[in-house]
Amino acid sequence: MNQHQTIESADRKFGWFMSAPTLALLLAVILFPVFWALFTSVHDYTLIAPNFDTFTGAQNYVSALQDAEFRHSLWITAFFVFVVVLIEFVIGFGVALMLNSVERFKPIYYGILLCPLLMNPVIVGLIWRMFLHPSLGIVNYLLSVASIAPVNWLGSTKVAMWTIVMVDIWHQVSFMIVLLLAGLSALPKEPYEAARVDGAGTFKAFRHITLPLMWPVIIVTLLIRLIFAVKTYDLVYIMTRGGPGTATDLASYFIYRKAFVSLHVGEASAMAAILLALVLLLTSYLYRYMRNLT
């Protein structure tokens, strides 16, 4: 072994040594619970009989997939995630583009935008539940001032999902704006000047330069928002408890109920594992797509 290799292996050992505490912590708080859940998902583990005595194999997975309510919750989660991410992206990108060309008072706009993001989702849910109260809420009051009939924001199966969507957009859209704005302001300025001389107007410059250059940032932003949206739980818990009926019964909330209301921890773990697999699948696809772009 020559000296160069010796130094390299010593460096590597030192690197492991330095990162060991953090790795151990990550292992304890992230990997361990994941594996524990996977282990639980193949056992008949309930909070009434909390033991791993009965190995059930894929039984929990089969019954989860056969459970119509779970499949329904997956569908409406997919719908929720799609709608929320799409609308937030459209609004977010639009606002980011506008803010990117703003010269003055940028910090003030930033400050206003970040306010909702700094709030805890539970607080957001509570505030909006008050705003949207059918008879006491300010929203219906304002509608009545404009002679519009009151809306049953959280009590109607047709409206409740859209209400949750709207509140989530209010809460999370600034996240999109901030990330996309950071991407926009990091774009090189020169190609735009070249394009102006080449004959590209605002729209063509956006279509042929901004969009392609922004793709990697857009994909990452969508990815992060998507993962967060799949996890949405607090808003539903505070505002509708999955109701009315199962109209807003998003997967995370459904799994919570399965585990801690029905006490079927094994089956809930299997459902969580299915959700995790779906998210991983989507993530790896988007990640690979992004890698091909750059």
């Binding site: 190609p191 070249a194 102006r196 001389v197 080449d198 590209a200 042929h208 330069i209 250059l213």
Partner: protein, 372 residues
Amino acid sequence: MASITLKDINKTYPNGVSAVRAVSLDIKDGEFMILLGPSGCGKSTTLRMIAGLESITSGDLMIGPNRVNDVDPAQRDIAIVFQNYALYPHMTVVDNLSFGLKLRGVEASEIAKRVKRTAEMLGIQPLFDRKPSQLSGGQRQRVALGRALVREPQAFLLDEPLSNLDATLRAAMRTELIKLHRNLGTTIVHVTHDQVEAMTMGERICIMKDGEIVQVGHPMDVYRNPVNTFVAGFLASPPMNLLGGRLEAVGDESVKVHSGSIAFTIPAAMAKGFISHAGKPVTLGLRPEDFYLTAESARHTAPVGVEVITTEVLGPEVILVASTGGENAAEIQVRMPRDFRASPGEKVMLHFDLSQIQIFDITTTRALPRVA
């Protein structure tokens, strides 16, 4: 092809900074014009105003017969090559070349033909499928040039296009640009702070300082007859030696100029322009290459005794750095033949060609008229 005319152009930024002041310049159809000056002199701003990337505060900009002050850059039919190339990073070389033509709705077959012709001219065909990040500096430069050429515009604007290249490549590209201009005959405005580029490439040089034009002319004219001490000190390397001195009348028609141990008597035939400044302090301008080791009868030379400070042996020539000695001794640089050798402290007798002397007014810094 078109001429470019700037009439009393001003550029003042919203914060009150005045970048370009009263610039008037006639660039002839097919001319290779150099805008030369130190950084911050307004030369790039002037170019960007011609391109339409910068608004014009006041004055008229004409391309051909048309006033284009408020015309969109795309409609001016000019192409620009940027200092950092400004290629589209996400597009391949061939897409970079054809993008401008596509935007203009040129037919695909015509685009392919023009791109091919341009790429052959610049030797960039093998790079067609690469992206800018996979190209070297020189290759990017060629692609940027190709992107401008393929448009076949009325004029090319080059904003320090060679400054990011290494010395060898820069010299090669300099020659290529000259050839290109000869073949195409298109008007070129080339911005640079490199006086070698200016001297070698330009048909005319426009020297700028602090947002104003100082002198416009053929490179050799500007070199031989700088209008003031700024131009004298800016052009050529080593630049003209500028020494503080004093003029004295000798009789009615000739003058004597003193600086340190230098004392030149300028014969009546050459002194006509200088006599008005007799008795006043002046700045003396002596080009490093106008010194000789022996008195030459063919020239009006005058002896200068100097003390060697150091010599720089460059190969084709030797730069002698010497002190003029005496009171107010000044340091001068002199070009010597390649076999010249001298040790520090040695006294050397040089002979200066009086017909090349420049004398500048000390307050206005402007050159006094020279009659040779």
